[in-house]
Symmetry: C2
Subunit: 418 residues, 2 copies
């Protein structure tokens, strides 16, 4: 199969013009759900789907799907679907999302042009609000499509300006009434930029993801005694910040220890709030928030247990009161063997060097993998930079990864394996 | 000499009515410079001074002094002055300040009633804005009177509502044009509540302060790399918060070590700011602010040196960039031997148990001690609580400490020692 690099490049660059930032180096864009830029990007996408002979559907949360039914194929057979998202973070890059959307469309066009006969329809999808840039919740559209969030609740979410998601979608005329149901897909593939340097540093053309890490978040609260910083002798203090500092160090130490055997395991204290946070008062209370990830749920549980135990030891030794709350627990997602095997074979056929790896960032594929066979491919990211106008993937790399995507989709759509 | 406990109690309780808080337990008040409550408290004070036969002066920064010249004493002889302040922190207590002001007035009344002949005038003083509750700078009025801050600058200070100190003083008619000059005082005494528990825990009636700790403030800045909390492996991070946490612990460890030989030495990280302070981003930058105090300037310098060295070691080992800035350095203040000896003798004559101690909190006396002989007495604080409506000193304790103040002042005013 032949990928037309210039056709793919043109679609991505046309999309990059919507919400374009005036930056000196790189190509930046801001595309928030329901903005004018989002409307323009969506309208261009619909036009490109229809130009390629795909039939477009839009669902109530604004997800867009285009279906191509090859000649002679029963339109009711479960399709192989592919795609990603068109929205961006504020001041984001032009590849994060659009590469997967237009890579999927280019893959369909490549299959159409090639001398092969798929046995299933092919579907190209763009999910709404993957970044959570406007409504604060990532992978929002795919979570509704896969049934993990109720549509009614999501439509009532409000952005910072007090608009609901329903308002925003209605204002750009993308509040559809059709159905996009991943449970009815035979398989799903997403192509995305890596947002890290494992492909670049190993000179690999394409990444084939085995797992997407789970995320668990915890809140550790440390309560000491707020006291006068001058009048309270060193041996008469119950300083919540010093106790919390010991815990912050322990989190790094324990996670580094576990990571020697589980290299994807990470734990971070990214956020800390201090009361009263005044220079001349011994801190009375500190809250730290943890982000814990791994490709194995057991490892995440083990990290949480060790953090909890260490916090209890600190509480005893330093006479502070502590609480530990695990308030979010999204388990890891595993790609299906059928999809990853097909991708490995496809890369082989394309002469592309493939690297098996995990994804530490969330993707719509995590939701889709809950309801059908899913695969996730990565293209190299220059210096790993992402969510930034300096985000970059060479056009040749885009084309190579898209070719692997197209070969994988073609194989999934022609094999009879369930 | 006889202290009339009820007269002292009445003055403090009358003053407590100005800016009174509606609290369930305790007696709270908010008296900010230039407020109606401040005006009422000042007017009551002037009236009480005049009732006791003192001649009142008000200076351009609103400091108030009342002078009593005993019969036969040359009015130009340097007086012995005493006092404190009438303002409070927001939601403060009723003893912090007023005990020292009305204790001073009661001391003069006691001398007047007693069968002794002072050789010097006695002066009762209330300094403006000791707490810094409205204009953000503590011991403001005494800093102007003693020449450490220029009057013109201070009058131009603006509060949160955009009023200058000049505006505030003018609005309550306490912008005087007379002179209150501590360089012309033979000696100065301040009675204040302890705001700590050293007197209570040792069953002492009165504290006789040797030194007021100096304060130095430093800012330590730690710059690492902000990174994705999922995609950045543990061994590839430059986490500014973990580095800062190591420093926070080092500050406690080093200060505790030094405090074994210098018990007044304390060092506190009370304030910490983190960028970006987002749960799923490895912190890129952390700033910590230190408050360092001791009664010896050399010890403060030694603490600063050790903190700076430790920060450099952390920077090297963790590959973070650091800067360390000592942006404030107020040296310790030492009370004059003449005043403390007089106070020790006075306590002895009163049958009061006295404890020599240091003050870890700032007082107007620190400024005055730069320009004349100064002494500072403490009355016990119940549970050490202060800056709070639960602040309390028993009336008997107020009276005992005031009697020691009166005896000390009388001795200073009758001895011919310079």
């Amino acid at each position: 199969m032949e990928i037309v690099r210039e056709r793919l490049r043109e679609d991505i660059l046309e999309t990059a013009a919507f919400g374009k930032l005036g930056v000196e180096t790189g190509h930046g864009r801001t595309v928030l759900t329901g903005s004018e830029a989002d409307q323009a990007a969506r309208e261009y996408f619909v036009e490109r789907l229809e130009s390629a002979g795909l039939t477009v559907r839009i669902d109530p949360v604004g997800n867009i799907a285009g279906r191509w039914v090859p000649d002679g194929v029963d339109p009711d057979v479960e399709p192989v679907a592919m795609g990603s998202h068109l929205d961006s973070v504020p001041q984001g890059g032009i590849f994060d999302g659009p590469l997967g959307v237009y890579g999927a469309l280019e893959a369909v066009r490549a299959v159409q042009d090639a001398d092969i006969t798929p046995e299933r329809p092919l579907e190209v999808v763009s999910f709404t609000e993957e970044e959570g840039g406007r409504f604060g919740i990532g992978t929002l559209g795919s979570s509704v499509a896969t049934g993990s969030r109720p549509l009614e609740d999501v439509l009532e979410l409000e952005d910072d300006e007090g608009w609901t998601l329903a308002d925003r979608l209605s204002s750009i005329d993308f509040d559809g009434d059709e159905t996009i149901d991943p449970t009815g897909w035979n398989a799903w593939l997403e192509l995305h930029i890596e947002q890290a340097t494992r492909l670049e540093s190993t000179g690999s053309d394409v990444g084939i993801v085995d797992s997407i890490t789970g995320i668990t978040n915890c809140s550790a609260d440390v309560r000491g005694e707020a006291d006068h910083a001058g009048a309270t002798p060193m041996d008469d203090r119950t300083d919540a910040l010093v106790a919390a500092a010991e815990f912050v160090q322990a989190v790094e130490e324990i996670a580094s220890d576990i990571a020697t055997e589980h290299p994807a395991a990470v734990a971070t204290v990214g956020r800390q709030t201090i009361e009263p946070n005044v220079r001349n008062i011994v801190p009375g209370r500190v809250n730290v928030e943890l982000d814990i990830r791994d490709v194995e749920h057991e490892t995440m549980d083990a990290l949480v247990d060790r953090f909890r135990q260490r916090l209890e030891r600190i509480a005893e030794r330093r006479s502070v009161e502590t609480t530990f709350d695990r308030f979010r627990d999204d388990p890891p997602s595993h790609m299906s063997d059928r999809c990853t095997t097909a991708a490995v074979d496809a890369a082989d056929r394309c002469g592309a060097t493939a690297k098996r790896l995990h994804s530490a960032a969330m993707h719509d594929t995590a939701n889709v993998s809950d309801v059908t066979d899913a695969g996730l491919l990565f293209a190299p990211s220059k210096d790993g930079v992402s969510h930034n106008p300096k985000e970059w993937t060479d056009w040749d790399d885009c084309a190579t990864a898209t070719r692997v995507l197209a070969e994988t989709a073609a194989q999934l759509a022609t094999s009879s394996a369930e």
